[in-house]
Symmetry: C2
Subunit: 292 residues, 2 copies
Amino acid sequence: MITPDWIAADWGQSQLQVWAIQGTDTVLASASTPLTPGHSDLSAMWTLIADWATLASPAPVLLSGYDGTDMKPLSVPCPPPSAAQAHTADLPPHPLQMLPDVIQDSPLDRLGSALIRVTGFLAQEPDFEGILCLPGALTRWVHLSAGEIVSFRSFVAGDLIAALTQMPGLPPMPQDPDTDPDQPNLLEAVRDGMAKPALLAARLAGISAEHSLNHSAQAPQRARLTGLVIGAELSAARAYWLGQDVAVVQEGHDPLAPAYLAALRDQSAMARPVDGQVLALRGLCATRNAAS
Amino acid sequence: MITPDWIAADWGQSQLQVWAIQGTDTVLASASTPLTPGHSDLSAMWTLIADWATLASPAPVLLSGYDGTDMKPLSVPCPPPSAAQAHTADLPPHPLQMLPDVIQDSPLDRLGSALIRVTGFLAQEPDFEGILCLPGALTRWVHLSAGEIVSFRSFVAGDLIAALTQMPGLPPMPQDPDTDPDQPNLLEAVRDGMAKPALLAARLAGISAEHSLNHSAQAPQRARLTGLVIGAELSAARAYWLGQDVAVVQEGHDPLAPAYLAALRDQSAMARPVDGQVLALRGLCATRNAAS
C-alpha cells in the first residue's frame, strides 16, 4: 500500500500523469491515462489515484493544466503561479489544489499544459534567457527572461498535421512512431513552407495529383506535410527563435519534437531537447515546496 | 418512356450528373447522384440511366471527368479533347465514350472534372482570353488563350476548409448553405490570409483560445477560416487573377464560389460568375457535335 505525502498531477494535452510523492520530491509511484481533447471530467484522476489517496489517507493533490473551473488566470508578463495562487477545492475524497493558467491578452492566448513545464524549466535553469518551444497538438513558443514569462505564441501544429494527413484524395500516411522522421524530405519541406507558406493548399493538390496519377511514393508524404506545417510556423514565429537560445520539449515518443529540433538546427538555430515529463514533475514539486 | 439519341454524363467532384439528349442539345430529362471522393464504380451511372438506355434502345453515353481507366491524358498547352480522342468501351448495355483528362507536367497537376467546364466555356466564349476559376473541394485556376488551355493550378480549398472546421479544440462551425457568407468577417480574413499566410496555424490557435476562454462568437468562425484559406490561395495564385478577366464557376448552391467572387472583387479583380452545370452540359454537347 502506497501512502504518499502528496500527489502531483499534470493534466496534459494528450494524457493525465500522476505521481505519488514522499517528502519534497521522492516519487513512490506514477501512473497515466490518455485524455481526449476537451475532456474535463476529474473522475479520470480520482480513478488513477484511488489506491494512493483514500478517506483514511487523504493525500492532497496539486493539479496543473486543468481547465474545468472558473479560476482567474494570471496575465503575462508574470512569474509562474505559486501554490498560494492555487484554487483550493475540498472535493471528496481529498483536498485538491489547482494551479491557475497564464494568459496573454494580445493576441489572446493561453499556456495550458505548457505552463507547468515552463515552471519546471525555470526551477531547473532560473537564469535562462531565451525560448522554450513545446511541440504538440498545439505548439507553444514561450519567451523567458529574468525568471518571468514575457510573452508566448501558440500554433495549431500536431492537430493540423493530423487533419491534413487524413484528408480525402491524399494517399494513406500511416504514422510510425518507431522511425525517425524522414529527414531529407522533412527539411526540404520545411524550407519550402518557410519560403512559400501560401502554397500549402497547392502542395496538398500536388500530392493528390501525384497520388491519383500513380506517381507517389507513400512513405515521405507525412514527412512532407509535417515539414510544410513546421516551415510555415518557423516563418511566422521567427522572432521566437532567430538568434535565441531555444529548448525544445520532448513529450514521450511524440515524433514532433525531433522534427522541430531538426528544422531549427537546419536553420542554424541553437536548439536542444528537454524532457516534458521531467519538467512537469519538477514544476509541480518546485511549486509545492516553495510554498512550504 | 424516354428514348434519347445520346446521354451526356459529367463525373464531377461531388456528384454525377446525366442528361438524356435528343438531337444536338435538346434535354429530355436529367438526373444526378452524389459521389464520394475516390468513388469510381460505373454502376452508379448505369443505375442512373437505366430508364433511358436499355438493350432495346442502346443510347450511347459520352462521359467526362471519369478517372477509372488507363486512358492516356493530354498535356497542356492543348485545346480541350475532341470526341475523336475519347476512349471507347463497349460495355453492356450500351456504348460508352470516355473523354481523356488534361494534365500538366510541372507542377504535376490534372484538370479532372474542371475540364468539361473549360470545354463548355470555350464553346460559349471561343475568343476568351483570361482565367476560369473553378472553386470546389479542389479549386482550379485555368489560363485560357487562343482557344487553348495554356496552364493551370490546383489548390485544395473546400476540403481544407472542411478539415479545419472539424478540428478538435475549435468551436462547432455548422454550415448553413442558405445564408450568404459573412462578408465583413470573410473579407477581413481574406486580407489577413493574403498578407500573412504563414499565420494560419496561429489563427487556428487564436480561435481555439477564444473558444476555451469563452470569448468567441460561433457564427463568424467558418467565414474566418474560409477567408484565411482563400486569402492564402489568392496570394499564391496572384498571377492567375491580377489584371486578368476572371470567370468564377458556381456549382449548385456551393457557398465557395460566392466567397471567391467577393474576395476577388475586394481585390479589385474583374470577376463574374458562370454556372458549372450549364458549362458541363454545353461542353459535352459541343464535344459530341463537333465530331458529327
